[in-house]
Symmetry: C2
Subunit: 406 residues, 2 copies
């Protein structure tokens, strides 16, 4: 039997480690012959763009580079399959491609949209009595917003980047003797997990960040200014961590609510990010030194400071997916179950793919303080194990080396 693996959705630092895990477990199994990588997710299956991974991952050096390469070496896509009750042609086509290439198991690494693909494709096979093709999902997302799983592969590395960078920015912010406010905008349109990771630096004795705002709690610009003024009485350099997706009480993104009337000289509606908006607000309302910093895609691609825990777990969950497939499972998503916080232990299970498709896991209300401007220590305890350990990049000419496949 041959197998195929593909990557989908937004890139992370760990999605290649899960690919590596699938490859390694595939090589180990006597039941598996060729291991194909499909280019650009399910599009690569539909287009029959398959790469024999044995020709690309030829030695340990390549494999080690793969673990250290951000983004998705096979490329990604954002494509959802139609309802197969209404439109079955693409399902038949995918099945033809699988048959033509002798593929008996398909592993899809991605977020909740990709788990939707896993759920639909496996349900199509179930309803049509096709029993010789198994479909298994491997989660990934820096947003950590997949349901069922304790945490998502890729999140730990992004969280480590956020924590390390907020630590360094805190150092930078304390250099001058005049009062200042620094606003750090983290990714997360609906879930505040990554922004919450900024709290990890408190484990090393920092008082920062002094304010943390997540999308899970309604945001008020007036209350924000009151919060900042109060923190300025306590700290010379106030550090604020804020999710890009914080929302006003009406559920709209704050960046849009507050700026909706703003047009530029050409009449275009132009929205700055929430960080820049809050910077301007502090400047207008308080008048102190203020700056905003958007951590941007560096959160998802800074492999040079990836979490070893995350990379190793991401690899393991890829291996576990192959093992689950070999044991006969299909239509499931592999998930982490945390057994203990200290010492941190975690095992891998599977759940029906439907449980992880199309829904989001939000930051728990009980982990946000009453004022809605900070998180509780229990959240930091949950986060800390995920950012432990480093995986040194392979450097060439002073720059991290990556693996490319094409």
């Amino acid at each position: 039997m041959n197998i195929a693996v593909a990557q989908s959705g937004g890139p992370t630092c760990a999605i290649n480690a899960s690919l590596g895990g699938v490859f390694r477990a595939g090589k180990r199994s006597e039941d598996i012959d060729r291991i194909y990588g499909a280019l650009n997710g399910i599009e690569g299956i539909i287009g029959d763009q398959l790469v024999d991974l044995s020709g690309k991952l030829t030695d340990d050096n390549n494999y080690e580079l793969l673990l250290r390469t951000p983004s998705a070496v096979l490329g990604s896509c954002r494509m959802k399959l139609p309802d197969y009750h209404k439109e079955s042609a693409v399902y038949e086509h995918i099945t033809d491609i699988f048959r033509k290439n002798g593929i008996g198991m398909f592993f899809y690494i991605g977020g909740n949209d990709s788990m939707d693909t896993v759920a639909k494709l496996s349900a199509y096979y179930r309803d049509n009595n096709i029993n010789d093709i198994r479909v298994i999902g491997i989660p990934k997302t820096i947003d950590n917003d997949l349901c069922v799983t304790d945490h998502c592969p890729g999140f730990g590395s992004a969280a480590k980047y956020v924590a390390a960078t907020v630590q360094e920015i805190t150092r930078d912010s304390n250099v001058y003797s005049i009062p200042s406010v620094t606003i750090i905008e983290c990714m997360g349109r609906h879930a505040g997990w990554l922004t919450a990771a900024s709290s990890c630096i408190r484990a090393n004795g920092e008082s920062a960040p002094h304010l943390i705002y997540l999308p899970e709690r309604a945001f008020s610009a007036d209350r924000f200014i009151v919060d900042v003024k109060r923190q300025m009485q306590r700290h010379r350099a106030v550090i604020v961590a804020v999710s890009e997706g914080i929302k006003t009480p009406d559920g709209r993104f704050a960046a849009e609510s507050y700026q909706s009337a703003k047009k530029d000289a050409f009449g275009h509606t132009y929205l700055s990010g929430i960080g820049k908006f809050l910077e301007n607000l502090v400047s207008d309302e308080i008048g102190c030194k203020v700056r905003s910093i958007e951590l941007n895609v560096m959160q998802r691609c800074s492999s040079h400071i990836a979490s070893l825990t995350d990379i190793q777990e991401s690899e393991r969950i890829g291996e576990a997916a192959v093992e689950a497939g070999l044991s006969g499972k299909t239509g499931c998503t592999m998930v982490f179950r945390r057994d203990s916080n200290a010492p941190y232990t975690c095992s891998i299970e599977s759940t029906d793919a439907l449980n992880t498709a199309n829904s989001e896991k939000f930051f728990p209300a009980e982990w946000i303080n009453d004022d809605g401007n900070d998180i509780m220590p229990a959240a930091t305890e949950y986060l800390l194990p995920l950012i432990q350990g480093e995986i040194a990049p392979v450097m060439k000419n002073g720059i991290p080396m990556h693996l490319t496949i094409e």
Copy 2:
């Protein structure tokens, strides 16, 4: 004799290594008793806020943390001394503080404003026949725009961050199969050195960045769109590196020239950075997928990926300053002289502080291509040696540890 050292101007990853070098050389010398650190630059001298560094740098562990701590552990300031011919009181006061604390040498680590302080203070001593207090400047700036010196302490680490991050963003940008443009905004209001460092990834076989714009060459938005369209014919994911300070032919910042008429809903003039402006421009004019990324203060504070070459040289130039002072020098700035590119060798000399005060060294015209949208290979050859080597951070709880002094 006691000595004093202070840090000034914008933070870097290497300004603490130079402090370490002063401390180490001071401890080695039998002629030097106490080594004082002044808090917040020259303000700490004026305010008599001196810290005995032996009480802070008590062991090798502290010292190693110092080398790995971004920003300035003693704090910084932005203060220029007045002309002493007109206003000598502050000079007399500084001298009183030096005398009261038995300080015979003062080392000032900073940029061209700080070198102005070194030049003025030493000239005041010369003109007033005060021969027992020496004043020596130690350069630092991520902008690499100090005159005389081949390069500036702190630049190599910022350049390494830029190169490594542009490498990782390039990987991230190539994940989708649709055409895209990624605009990376680097620091540099007047000098393009940091932006040029993005070219280092070509040494590892990357074609990116496909376009590079520096403040030294007049910028045209129309020509930019033509450039981008041309690159889009060659590359699916076009990567653009641009200095924050690129200017229109009239010498104004492009971000201001092009947005001067733009007001928000409250009537405030609001300027986005050049990256965001160019992102909106590409979106309007080309209509493809486009994003902008501002590397922001991470360029100057990401010690976790500092250049070992930079940290070691920064430490050495601090030591060399003490040695120069002990040999009788004053009124000078320590500078690097590059002896060879390959193998890279570099020695340390001194120059009259006036040569480094208040002036800027621009990116050479001959290192910019005719079209003004890229740099020449000779520039990359100059840059590469400065980003070599790594200095692993000391991690605690998965986050880099820093030294704080207060």
